[in-house]
C-alpha cells in the first residue's frame, strides 16, 4: 500500500473521489494532495504508452511509472462500471513482486471502499505486468545495444583519426 496511489470515483457521483496515497486515505478537504495524486496519474497517461488493454484492465507506463485501471463489480448511480486506478513506480527486475504487491494493495483498498474485484481481473492484471516486464526489457536491450554501437563507432573514429596523426 505504501508504494502506491489508489483512486476510485464515488458510486453516487457526487461524493468526493476515494484516494489512498502511499497508505493514507485522503480526507475530502485535502485538495492539494488530491490534485497532486491526479497530476501524477495524468502525467503517465499523457507521456506514457498503453501496454495492455484487455477486458477493462488497462496498463499504461512511462519510463518509471505505471497506471493500472481495473474494473470493480459495482456500478455507479448512472449504471456505469466503476474502475479503480493504481499508480506506482516499477522496476523491471522486481516486476513479478510488483504484480503481487499491487494485487494486495488493490484488494485492501477495494474492501475499504466497499468494492469487489473479480479473480479474472486479478489474473489479467498479473499478465499486464508480465507484458510490461517483457516490453521494458526489450526497450532496455535496444537502448543498451544502441548506446554500445554508438560508443564503438565513436571509438573507431577516434582510432582512425589517431592513425592519421590528428
Amino acid at each position: 500500500m505504501e508504494k502506491f496511489i489508489l483512486w476510485a470515483q464515488a458510486l453516487d457521483n457526487s461524493s468526493p473521489d476515494h484516494f489512498d496515497v502511499r497508505g493514507k486515505m485522503l480526507s475530502a478537504d485535502d485538495s492539494v494532495r488530491r490534485q497532486e495524486a491526479v497530476s501524477s496519474v495524468s502525467s503517465v497517461i499523457k507521456n506514457g504508452t498503453r501496454v495492455y488493454d484487455v477486458s477493462g484492465v488497462l496498463l499504461t507506463a512511462d519510463d518509471r511509472h505505471f497506471v493500472l485501471e481495473i474494473p470493480s463489480a459495482q456500478r455507479d448511480l448512472s449504471g456505469r462500471t466503476a474502475p479503480i486506478v493504481c499508480y506506482g513506480e516499477y522496476d523491471v527486475v522486481e516486476s513479478d513482486a510488483l504484480g503481487a504487491s499491487v494485487a494486495v494493495a488493490l484488494d485492501v483498498f477495494a474492501k475499504r471502499i466497499g468494492r469487489t474485484l473479480q479473480p479474472e481481473h486479478f489474473k489479467l492484471m498479473r499478465i499486464s505486468f508480465e507484458t510490461l516486464k517483457k516490453k521494458s526489457s526489450m526497450t532496455k536491450l535496444v537502448r543498451t545495444v544502441g548506446i554500445g554501437a554508438l560508443a564503438l563507432a565513436f571509438l573507431a573514429i577516434v582510432y582512425w583519426l589517431a592513425q592519421r596523426g590528428w
Partner: protein, 225 residues
C-alpha cells in the same frame, strides 16, 4: 506474369498509396487548421460520450466512470455540410481534484465546452447548482487569464429527461432554450463566463447517435461561424 495480374497489382499499389496520401494529408490539415477541444464538466454529464463521438463517430457501447484520463486521438470528419478537423485531446475526470488537469486542457484549447446536466438545473437541484457555480468560478478565472480567449460554450445535456423538452415541438425549441437561459443560475454562469456575447448556451440530448449528431451539429455550426 499475365497482364491482368500486373494491372491488378498496380491498382492495389495505387489505392494503397492514395489511402496513405489521404491519411497523411488529413494529418497535415488537422495540424494546420485543426481545433483543440477541451471538454469539461462534473461527473456523469456526458464528457466521455461527447469525446468518444467526436473522435470515433460512435457512442460507447458500455459506459464506465472516467477515473484516470484517456487520450482521444485527432480526427477529420464530415457532419452534414461541416468539415470538422479536431486535434488530439484528453478525456478527463469530472472530480474537483482534476481542476489542475481541466486548466491545462483549457489553456491549450481553441474551443472549450462546459457540459452540465440541464435537466437537474431545470429541476432546481441545489447540489448541481453549487457544483456548476464552483466550476465556473474556476473557468472564468482561466478564461480571463488567457491572452487569446478560446470560444466558450455551455452545453446542457440530458434534456431528454425533462418532460417539457420532450413535449416541445422543433419550432418551439428556441423558446425552451430562452427559458433555460433565463434561469437565475444559468444567467449567473453566462455572466461569469463573460456575458452572452462571449458564451453560447446550447441544449440537447445525447441519448442516441442521432440525438448526439444533432447536438454536435448545433454546436459546431456556431464553432465555425
Amino acid at each position: 506474369m499475365p497482364i491482368p495480374i500486373i494491372i491488378a497489382a498496380i491498382s492495389v499499389l495505387i489505392s494503397v498509396a492514395a489511402t496513405i496520401a489521404t491519411a497523411a494529408w488529413d494529418d497535415i490539415v488537422i495540424a494546420l487548421k485543426g481545433k483543440r477541444l477541451a471538454v469539461l464538466g462534473a461527473r456523469g454529464v456526458g464528457k466521455t460520450h461527447l469525446v468518444k463521438f467526436l473522435t470515433t463517430g460512435s457512442i460507447p457501447a458500455e459506459y464506465k466512470q472516467t477515473v484516470a484520463p484517456e487520450k482521444a486521438s485527432a480526427r477529420r470528419f464530415y457532419l452534414k455540410d461541416l468539415d470538422l478537423k479536431l486535434k488530439e485531446t484528453l478525456d478527463v475526470s469530472g472530480d474537483k481534484a482534476a481542476y489542475a488537469e481541466w486548466k491545462e486542457l483549457h489553456d491549450e484549447a481553441d474551443v472549450v465546452f462546459y457540459l452540465l446536466r440541464a435537466d437537474r438545473l431545470i429541476a432546481g437541484d441545489c447540489d448541481v447548482e453549487s457544483r456548476v457555480r464552483n466550476d465556473l468560478r474556476h473557468i472564468s478565472g482561466w478564461l480571463e487569464a488567457r491572452s487569446s480567449r478560446p470560444r466558450f460554450f455551455i452545453i446542457g445535456t440530458h434534456c431528454d429527461l425533462d418532460a417539457e423538452f420532450l413535449s416541445t415541438s422543433s419550432d418551439k425549441i428556441g423558446d425552451y432554450v430562452d427559458k433555460f437561459r433565463r434561469l437565475p443560475i444559468v444567467s449567473e454562469l453566462v455572466a461569469r463566463a463573460g456575458g452572452a456575447q462571449q458564451t453560447k448556451v446550447i441544449l440537447g440530448s445525447m441519448k442516441t447517435v442521432q440525438d448526439t449528431e444533432a447536438l454536435v451539429y448545433q454546436v459546431f455550426t456556431q464553432v465555425v461561424s
